[in-house]
C-alpha cells in the first residue's frame, strides 16, 4: 500500500473511484477525468490512463457516455495534437457499444479529434479505424463508421479515397437496416467532401440505392438528406439526376416519404434554378398541398410562405394561392392551424393588391375558424397582419374573434389570448382598446381558473405600463379596486395581487392615495388568507411609498396583524415588520 501525502488525497480518491461500486461516484470521477490527467501528467496519461480506460469499457452506459464526451476534448491532456491518436482506441471501442447515445457521442468526439489531427496521423491512424469499424462484425460498429467518413476522406491519398467510396457504397447496401439508415443520414456530410466527378457517379449511385431501399425508414432518411445533396451538384446535374427522383418521391406510396418531401421541397428550388422549379417542382408542391393524407398537407402548408418567397408573384398567385384557399377550409384543423401560422408571411410576396383581394378573405375566414388554435395562430402574427391590411379593417374583423377567444371554455386558450392583449393594445391604440377590450380585462380578474386570474393581474400591470398611470387611473384602477368587495375571498386575493403589481407602475402618490387605503381596509377582512396576503402586499409597498407613510400607516397595521390569532398572519406580518425596520436602519 502506498503512502499518499495530504494534498494529494482528494486526487487519489478521485482516481480510486474510477472503479468504485457506486455508479454516481464513478460518474463523478469520469467527469473530472481532466483533473486526473493533469495530476498524472501527459506522459502517464498517454501510457497509463488512456489504456486503462480502453480496457475498462464494460461499464454502465451513463459512465460510458460521460467518458465518450470527456475524451472528445482530451487532446491538451495527452500532450497536444501530435499525440491525438492515442485517444482513438478507447473511442473506437465506444463506437461499438449497443446504446445509441453512447455511440453517437463517441462518433462526435472522434470527429472533433479527427478535425484537429495532422494529415499523416489521419492516414496512419484515423482512416484504418474507420475501415475497421466499417468492417465490424456487429452492426453497431458499422453504424458508427458512417459518421466518420467525412473526416477521414479529405486527407486520404487517391487510392484510399477510391477504397473509402467503395466501402461507403457497401454500407449503403448493408444487410442491417440500422446501418443503411446511418449511411443515409450521413451521406450529405460525406458527399460534401467528395470531388465533383465522383459526386456525380459514386454518390449519386449510393443515393439511388438508398432511395430504392425496401425499408421505408431508410428511404425517408435519404429524402431528408436530398436537399443538402442537391445543393452540392451543379444545377444542370441536379436537374438531370436529382429532379426526377424528387418528383417521384413526391408521389411515393408512403405518406411519410411525401411528408419528408413536403418539408424539403422549397430548399431544392434554389438548387435547380427557376425554370425547372416552375415546370416540375411547383406542380409537385401543388400535389402535396392537395395530398390525401392530412399529415402531408400539414407539412406542405407549413412551408407555403417559404416556398412562395422563392417563386415569383405570378406563379405564387396562379398556382399556390388557389391551394391555400382550399387549405383554409381543410377538414383537418391541424392543417388549417399550420396554414394560419405562416399565411401572413405571404403578404409581402404577393403585394398589396393581391393580398387585399385574395389573401384577406382567407385570413378572415381563418380568424373565424371554429378551432381556437387556428385563430390564435393568426392573432399571434398580429404585427404582420397590421402592416398588410391596416388597423381599421383589422379591428372590425379581429374584435369578434378576440372576444370569442377571451370567453373560450378551454382556459389554456383564454390564457393564450391574455398574453397577446398588451401587444394588441400597443398596436391598436388607446381609443380602440377602451371601447372594446377594457371590459374583458376586468372580466378575466373574476375567472374561475387561478392561472387566468393570475395572468389577468399581470395583464393589468402591463396595460398600465403601456398606456401610462394617467390612463390607468381612469380606466383600470377604479374598476380593479371596486372588486375588492367581492364576496369570494379568492377574488379579493386576486385584487390584492393586482394592487401589488400595479403599485410600482403607478408611483408613490397614487399608491398612497388610492391603493394603500384599500389594502389597509382589507387587513380587517374576516379571512386569514386575505390578512396574510395584506401583510405580504404591505411589505412589497414599503420601498415604493414615503418613509413617513410607512411609519404612519403601514407599521400600525402590521403591528395589529402581528397579534392576530392566526399563526400564518402573525408570521407574514412579523416578516413585513422586519422589512420596515430594515428600511428604518438604512
Amino acid at each position: 500500500m502506498s503512502m499518499i501525502e495530504e494534498p494529494l488525497y482528494p486526487i487519489a480518491v478521485l482516481i480510486d473511484e474510477l472503479k468504485n461500486e457506486d455508479i454516481q461516484l464513478r460518474l463523478n470521477s469520469i467527469r473530472r477525468l481532466s483533473t486526473i490527467a493533469r495530476a498524472l501528467g501527459e506522459e502517464r496519461t498517454r501510457k497509463e490512463l488512456i489504456p486503462f480506460l480502453s480496457e475498462n469499457n464494460d461499464d454502465d452506459d451513463e459512465v460510458l457516455l460521460a467518458m465518450a464526451e470527456e475524451l472528445g476534448v482530451f487532446i491538451p491532456y495527452v500532450g497536444g495534437v501530435e499525440y491525438a491518436n492515442v485517444l482513438l482506441p478507447p473511442l473506437e471501442t465506444l463506437c461499438t457499444v449497443e446504446e445509441t447515445c453512447v455511440r453517437d457521442k463517441a462518433v462526435e468526439s472522434l470527429c472533433r479529434i479527427g478535425a484537429q489531427m495532422r494529415e499523416q496521423d489521419l492516414v496512419e491512424y484515423f482512416i484504418p479505424l474507420v475501415k475497421r469499424l466499417a468492417a465490424g462484425e456487429w452492426f453497431t460498429a458499422r453504424v458508427s463508421s458512417c459518421g466518420l467518413f467525412h473526416i477521414a476522406y479529405p486527407s486520404a491519398p487517391e487510392a484510399l479515397k477510391t477504397e473509402l467510396r467503395a466501402i461507403y457504397s457497401q454500407l449503403c447496401q448493408d444487410d442491417m437496416p440500422m446501418v443503411r439508415r446511418s449511411a443515409a443520414t450521413n451521406l450529405g456530410k460525406f458527399a460534401a467532401t467528395v470531388e465533383a466527378p465522383h459526386l456525380k457517379v459514386d454518390i449519386m449511385s449510393m443515393f439511388d440505392d438508398l432511395t430504392h431501399d425496401d425499408q421505408d425508414s431508410v428511404r425517408l432518411l435519404a429524402v431528408e438528406g436530398c436537399a443538402a445533396l442537391g445543393k452540392l451538384l451543379e444545377p444542370q446535374d441536379c436537374v438531370a439526376h436529382f429532379l426526377p427522383v424528387i418528383v417521384n418521391f413526391s408521389q411515393d406510396k408512403s405518406w411519410r416519404v411525401r411528408y419528408m418531401v413536403a418539408n424539403q421541397l422549397y430548399e431544392l428550388c434554389e438548387a435547380v434554378g427557376p425554370e425547372p422549379t416552375r415546370s416540375e417542382l411547383v406542380p409537385a408542391y401543388v400535389r402535396l398541398l392537395r395530398d390525401n393524407e392530412a399529415e402531408v398537407r400539414i407539412a406542405a402548408a407549413g412551408k407555403v410562405t417559404k416556398f412562395c418567397r422563392i417563386l415569383n408573384p405570378e406563379l405564387a398567385i396562379q398556382h399556390i394561392l388557389p391551394c391555400v384557399k382550399e387549405l383554409s377550409t381543410d377538414s383537418s384543423q391541424h392543417v388549417r392551424s399550420a396554414l394560419a401560422s405562416v399565411i401572413m408571411g405571404m403578404a409581402p410576396v404577393l403585394g398589396k393588391d393581391a393580398t387585399i383581394e385574395q389573401l384577406l378573405p382567407i385570413f378572415l375566414s381563418l380568424l373565424k375558424d371554429e378551432f381556437p388554435d387556428v385563430r390564435l395562430n393568426i392573432i399571434s402574427k398580429l404585427d404582420q397582419v397590421n402592416q398588410v391590411i391596416g388597423i381599421d379593417l383589422l379591428s372590425q374583423s379581429l374584435l369578434p374573434a378576440i372576444v370569442e377567444l377571451a370567453e373560450d371554455r378551454h382556459w389554456r386558450v383564454r390564457l393564450a389570448i391574455i398574453e397577446y392583449i398588451p401587444l394588441l393594445a400597443s398596436q391598436l391604440g388607446v381609443g380602440f382598446f377602451d371601447d372594446k377590450l377594457g371590459a374583458l380585462c376586468m372580466q378575466w380578474l373574476k375567472d374561475k381558473v387561478y392561472s387566468i386570474r393570475d395572468a389577468a393581474a399581470n395583464n393589468v400591470k402591463r396595460l398600465a405600463e403601456e398606456f401610462g398611470p394617467d390612463w390607468a387611473m381612469q380606466h383600470i384602477v377604479p374598476q380593479v379596486l371596486d372588486m375588492i368587495n367581492n364576496p369570494h375571498y379568492l377574488y379579493r386575493m386576486t385584487i390584492l395581487h393586482a394592487i401589488s403589481l400595479l403599485a410600482p407602475v403607478m408611483g408613490s402618490d397614487i399608491t398612497c392615495s388610492k391603493l394603500l387605503p384599500v389594502v389597509i381596509n382589507a387587513s380587517k377582512d374576516r379571512v386569514p388568507n386575505i390578512k396574510f396576503n395584506v401583510a405580504k402586499v404591505l411589505q412589497s409597498l414599503i420601498p415604493i411609498v414615503d418613509q413617513s407613510v410607512v411609519e404612519k400607516t403601514i407599521r400600525p397595521c402590521l403591528v395589529e396583524l402581528s397579534e392576530d390569532p392566526d399563526v400564518d398572519v402573525r408570521f407574514f406580518a412579523t416578516q413585513a415588520l422586519e422589512s420596515c425596520n430594515q428600511v428604518m436602519m438604512s
Binding site: Y9, V13, D16, N20, D58, E98, W138, P177, D216
Partner: protein, 507 residues
Amino acid sequence: MNGGDEVVTAPAGPPQPLDWKFSQVFGERTAGEEVQEVDIISAIEFDKTGDHLATGDRGGRVVLFERTDTKDHDALRRDLERMDHPINRHPEFRYKTEFQSHEPEFDYLKSLEIEEKINKIRWCQTANGALFLLSTNDKTIKFWKVQEKKVKKISEMNLDPPKAVGNGCVASSSNSNSPTPCLANGGSPDNDFSFPPGGLPSLRLPVVTSQETNLVARCRRVYAHAHDYHINSISNNSDGETFISADDLRINLWNLEISNQSFNIVDVKPANMEDLTEVITSAEFHPTHCNMLAYSSSKGSIRLIDLRQSALCDSHAKLFEEPEAPGSRSFFTEIIASISDIKFAKDGRYMLSRDYMTLKLWDINMDSGPVSTFQVHEYLRPKLCDLYENDSIFDKFECCLSGDGLRVATGSYSNLFRVFGCAPGSTEATTLEASKNPVRRQVQTPSRPSRSLSSITRVVRRGAETSGIDANGNSFDFTTKLLHLAWHPTENSIACAAANSLYMYYA
C-alpha cells in the same frame, strides 16, 4: 374460382410425416406435486437464430435458455467422424438465466390491480453479444438487455481500503470510510489543484483483476401508460427500430429508443362503447415488409393494413374473412370464430390463424377465404355448451409455423398439441402429448380422403377427432390445456408449455 389449383398442383409430392421424439423437459412435475399459479408459463418465444429460447410466467419472470449443441459442435466433430452412423443432432437447450420482468402493481387512479403475468415476449436485434428482448404484461412493455458482465476486483488502489484487508471486502467505498472528512469526490472545483508539469508519480491507477463473468439483465426502457385495455400482442418491425403493441381496441407504434411517446395507428373504439361489436385479439408485423401489419379480431377476420397509406390506419388494405356457411349459425358461432392468435410464415406470404375450433392458413394474395383449414377441436362441437359454462370456450390457444412453412402446430386440451402438414397434398396430422412419451396417447386416425366442401377453394384436411374420448378411452381434461408453443425457426423442434413445465420435442 381457380383457388383449388393451388392445392391440386403439388410439385413433388408432400414431405413425409415427421416422427416426433421427446428431447427435453424443464420444470417437470413429480407425481402429485401441486402447480404453483405463479410458475405457470404464459409465453414462449425462440429468437431469430433459434439459439435462444425465452419463457415468461404468471409470476412476471422471464427465463432464458440457450442452445448447447451448436456451441461445442466443432470440438466434437472429430468424435463424431469416428462414428460410423450419423448422429441425429437436434437442438438442446440449457437454462441460461432468469430475471423478474414485471411486478404486481396497483393503478390507484382506476382502482385496478395490474397482474405481473407476462403476456408476450419478443426478441430484438442482438448486438455485441448482448441479448435484447421485449416483455409485456397487461399494461407495460419493457425492453431488456441481458449481457455478460465481468466481475471486477480492484486489487491496487492509492488509498488503503480501511480495515478491509483480510476479509475480502476490497471494493468498498474509499470515500465514505476515509479517515479525513470532507473530501467527497467532486466536492472541490478543478482549479483548486495545481500540478507539476510532469505529474505526480506517487499516484497510480487502480488495477482490475479477475475476469469472471456473470449474466446481468438490465431493464433499459419502460413503455408505459399507452394502453387503456389489456395488451394482447407486441411485434417487432423488420426495420429494427420500431415495434407495435396492441390491446383490445388500439394498436400503438413505438420507436425502441423512445419510451415516452407512441403513435396510435389503429383505433377501433366506437364513439359509443355500446356500439362495440369487435375487438382486436392479436397483431403482428409482416416479417419483411416494414409497412405491413396484420391484426385479427374477435369476429374471426384478419385485417392487413399498410402504414404507407395514411397516418391513422383505421381503414384496412385487405380483409380476410371466411364466408359463413349458410344455416350453421348458432349462439356459439361468434364466440368460436374469435381468433386467438395470428402468425406470419417466415416468407411473409402466408398467415396462420387459430380460432377455437380450427387452424386456418391464409395466402395474403387471396382474401376470399383460407387456403386450408385444419380441424383441431371439431370433436368438441357437441360440448360447446359445457365449454361455455366453464369458460373454456374463451381459452386463447396460440399457433405456430415451422421455419420452412411446411407444417403448422397448435395446442389443445389434456396437454395435447397437434401438428399438421400444410404443404399441398400433405395429409400429415399428428397428435402429441406434452410428456416424456409424446406419442403415448396419439390417436391413430385412419387416413381418409380429404372431404371437399361446397367451395373448392377450401379443403378441409383430415384430422378431425372422432369423439371427445381419446384412443385410450380417457375423457379430455379441460383444466390441462396447452396454450403456448413455439416452433424453432430453422429446425423441426417444438417447445411447448404444459402448466409450469417446458417440454421440447424434435423430429
